[in-house]
Amino acid sequence: MKQITIISGKGGTGKTTIASNFIKLARDHIAVDSDVDAANLHILLDPKIKETKDFIGGAVAEVSDECTNCGECENLCRFEAISNSSSDIKIDPIRCEGCGVCEYVCPVDAIKLESNNQGYYYTSESSFCTLVHAKLNPGAENSGLLVTRVRNVAEDIANNQNKKAIIIDGAPGIGCPVISSLNGVDYAMIVTEPTLSGIGDFIKVFEVTKFFNIKTFACVNKYDINLNNTEKIYDFCLKNDIELIGKIPYDDKVSICLSNRKFIIDEPSSEAGKEIKKIWEKVKEYLYPN
């Protein structure tokens, strides 16, 4: 079984559009949405939820009345999450990372780590395949852990049902959810755009796939808005042994299709749709070797 993650560095370059069209074109596969705090794959795939599970994420420290304001916890907290221990101790849940150092050092056992529900993850059926996705509670932590959960579920299903491929829609950036979505996959496809921001973020996210030694493809979306920059992306790919797998032209029909909940590959007159099909043919060679 092969796995591919679609990432971008910069947000809004077209990850989800490309992923959802790939999912419609693929066979014997499972789909995963690993952008757990801004999940969008379900919008086009329109799946029916079959199973919902609680996500109990990392814990946050809470302090009780037994506190004597000795200040030990404040001294040792590396995240500046504890303040005012000399008078009225406060723990800032935004800064607290749930490491447990304060709980450990408290001489009167006034601090406890409390784990709460931080979201849900779902196994759903779409017309094309099983989709495993999640919803992190707004503002919650541990998106990386939730991505790992979602991927484990997808891998179990894929193994049990003898599926050939897992297609993972990634998150923007290079942080926890991105790293968790790349861990152990066979391929990464970076969707970029020929803007200075797009290039800057492409280079950063490529550093990550290189760090984890993952075979990387690149695809330039809206390549025709700046041909000079597209050229620069080509050069970078050549120098860094990244396979340039396609370039998609700017096409107004993409957002029109999306608003009508339609797939761009089903729009015969769309140049972008045609190009996505071509890219899929190349990706398919890797995902389904013989």
Partner: protein, 279 residues
């Protein structure tokens, strides 16, 4: 006043709005909190004068002292330490640098070293913008640590514009936490609306006033606008979809470069916002 620009969905135009607002106002402090993908510098072109490392502590284990009792692994809530046989294995990418393993080791076998996880860059942009950005080192997950290092530079009694990361999880919450007002930039598509709703929930929970800017107006449909009108959410501005603007953006040029009349529109937004700020 601290004014943050956030979005939920990525690529809707946060940086475009933050940068053009800063250039229109002229005098402010600009902070790029999107440390995983910092892009404001492409447009503000700051003259970077200071670069400073952001570091965290990583443990290392003295083999000759360690007796593999496993207390460190048992303590670590992030699974960054494991004991296999008579050896401790450390997974640096999972470590939060809390120092717990050092604290619990009965043998005194744990030491710490500084590891670079990113940089803070400081500079000046014309006309009068004090520019700060965080830059997370690829391969590290310490987004929040780099943002926390940026927090230290926030000045008082000046307009602070914060360019936030996408999403609605901890890096976004950390970026908006001290804001007096947050601008949510969205696009008029089902994806834009879906993520806008989640961002609004976050801001409501935190008690931060907000308004919406619709970017690339004209694409997609009017679901976002209808939602805002129905729920009495202020639409601060609509930026029409324009291939020319996209081309300027691609070269790192601002909307003011394209059409100076945007300056007045962004200044007006600021006046509008001042009516609604927290406090």
């Amino acid at each position: 006043m601290i004014l943050s620009v956030a979005s939920g969905k990525g690529g809707t135009g946060k940086t475009t709005v933050a940068v053009n607002l800063a250039l229109s106002v002229g005098f402010c402090q600009f902070m790029d909190y999107d440390v995983e993908a910092p892009n404001a510098a492409f447009f503000l072109k700051p003259d970077i004068k200071h670069i400073q490392k952001v570091e965290m502590k990583h443990p290392y284990f003295l083999k000759e002292v360690c007796n593999a009792c496993g207390k460190c692994a048992e303590f670590c809530n992030f699974n960054a330490v494991a004991v296999a046989g008579d050896e401790v294995i450390f997974f640096p990418e999972l470590c939060h640098g809390c120092g717990g393993c050092l604290l619990v080791c009965p043998e005194g076998a744990v030491r710490e070293k500084d590891v670079e996880i990113g940089k803070i860059k400081k500079g000046f942009s014309k006309p009068g913008i004090n520019f700060y950005m965080g830059d997370l080192k690829p391969g590290y997950m310490r987004t929040i640590s780099v943002q926390a290092a940026l927090d230290k530079f926030i000045e008082k009694d000046i307009l602070i514009i914060i360019d936030c990361p996408p999403g609605t999880s901890c890096p976004m919450v950390f970026s908006v936490k001290d804001s007096d007002y947050c601008i949510l930039v969205t696009e008029p598509t089902p994806y834009g609306l879906n993520d806008l709703l989640i961002s609004i929930e976050v801001l409501k929970d935190m008690g931060i006033p907000y308004g919406v800017i619709i970017n690339r107006d004209g694409i997609g449909n009017d679901e976002v606008e209808n939602y805002c009108r129905k729920n009495n959410i202020k639409i601060l501005l609509k930026i029409p979809n324009d291939m020319e603007v996209a081309k300027y953006y691609s070269r790192g040029e601002s909307m003011l470069d394209y059409d100076i009349s945007w300056k007045g529109k962004f200044e007006n937004i600021l006046k509008e916002i001042k009516k609604d700020v927290r406090k």
